[in-house]
Amino acid sequence: MEAASNTDARVLVEHLFREESGKMLAALSRLFGLGRMDVAEDIVHETFVAALRTWQFGKVPDSPSAWLMQVARNKALNELKRLQHRRKVTDDADPSMLPVTEEEAGRVFLDHEIKDSRLAMLFACCHPEFPIKSQVILTLRAVCGFAPKEIAAGMLMSEDAVAKTLVRVKKEIKERNIPFQAPIVFRSQHRQEAVLTVIYLLFNEGYKSSAANELVRSELSYEAIRLARLLTGYALDTLHETYALLALMYFNFARFRSRTGELGEPLLLKDQDRSLWDHELIAEGYRYLALSRQGEKVTRYHLEAGIAAVHCSAKNFESTDWKAVINYYDLLSERWRSPLYVLNRVIAVGNCWGPEAGLDALQKAGEEEGLGSNHLYHAALGSFCFDMGDYRKAAAHYKKAYALAESSSDRIFLEKRIAECDRDLLTRH
């Protein structure tokens, strides 16, 4: 029967279009120049429309990716001819170069060239002169193929704000005439580190606790992992640093589901359900951690991954190797001043030697580092007082933290703590 040939409809790989969108954008931007990203975006969209119009009749090509790239390529070559013709006719003084021959143009659609283009695109997006948030947004758009709507959901921003950022940053690319291909940029360790910073920030954007848009937020974090893996395909100077970052991200990603409560509020490590941890991902973390230690340098990511590994290897909260954690935080705070390292170190001290020791260290650190306006500092004070049974003082600290907290998920967390203090005060009297 004729119908039989139509039943072999293939299921498409999850997020195929999003991923292909990133690949096509990279290839097309290389062809037309970074300043013409809008042209590239239009072609990508038209390509998807063509797929939708054709595939909806039940027949999906054997290789959907190859089909899409082929269509994009043909559309691009047509557009190229049009642009070249216009330039000849109007003597358009467009400074960016366009390839001359069709053969030259066609080359950018070869598989390995596309891979290189994605890397070039990543480096172009992580341009240190753009605000860091713009770098993250542009990377999500141009390298990962996220639509503005998805970026907005993932970064807890309005779609309008995302769109405006994209317009602004694209305009800047055009005005500054930022080139697409500059291998020297890949070799610059400074730029490589900038890319890693953006990747880590992207990961944390997705990892931030909030009840909103959990699904797309986990995808954001996973994209960060994928970008880092893309980097490891090239023997860059920061290879071992990248491995360390990957280890760190895998260890954290493994705990993604346990990190928040029902209301999206952050859960303390001791309250997390460890049965929700993904052991395959933890194993990946260890694999990358081992690779990262083959390098000579010990970076921030190495140390942070080391801490994450300690937590992932503990059967329960009580058996955590706190001394190892403290040691890592000592090394971190020696080289990088960050209130977060100081606070986390002190919390580890409290878990290791008891709340009195923790409180003591915390108060000292608070004075030295000027942490008075940091809500996490007051939350930590509250936590130690609570563990010492001083619920009245604990509640006061938590309330101070509440007043300083900015995110709603942090406030939900603190509300819960304050309620606990009140409950314990009541039961005592």
């Binding site: 299921v11 279009f17 939708l52 639509a147």
Partner: protein, 115 residues
């Protein structure tokens, strides 16, 4: 079983605001719909049509109709059903309807039969 032609008019406008992810979902729902029709022996074929064409009337030849104008047929499905009611019910499942497209269900006239 009788044969039915489903003439499809897409809402091209709706595609403009769709994300790649949404377009993929749209394709997947079509595939699922076709798969279900095939499984139950209702599907005979289908094909998209190029966006433009020409229309002849007397000696006059004009371009179009274009699928962008919603007047042009953008593709067809060929279905098998026992009667028009069943074919219409089947057509109701076409995902294109969800995004503002339309489907015209036309029974093929049978030769040598008055029905």
């Amino acid at each position: 079983m009788k044969e039915f032609l489903l003439l499809l008019r897409e809402n091209i406008e709706a595609y403009k605001s769709m994300t790649p992810e949404e377009m993929q979902k749209e394709i997947e729902s079509h595939i699922k719909w076709v798969e279900n029709l095939s499984k139950n022996g209702h599907f005979k074929g289908g094909h998209p049509l190029e966006p433009g064409g020409t229309t002849l009337k007397g000696k006059l030849v004009t371009d179009g109709p274009f699928i962008e104008s919603k007047e042009g047929v953008s593709g067809y499905y060929f279905l098998l059903a026992s009667n028009l009611e069943e074919a219409t019910e089947l057509a109701k499942g076409c995902p294109t309807l969800q995004i503002g497209g339309s489907v015209e269900v036309r029974p093929l006239m049978a030769y040598g039969s008055s029905q």
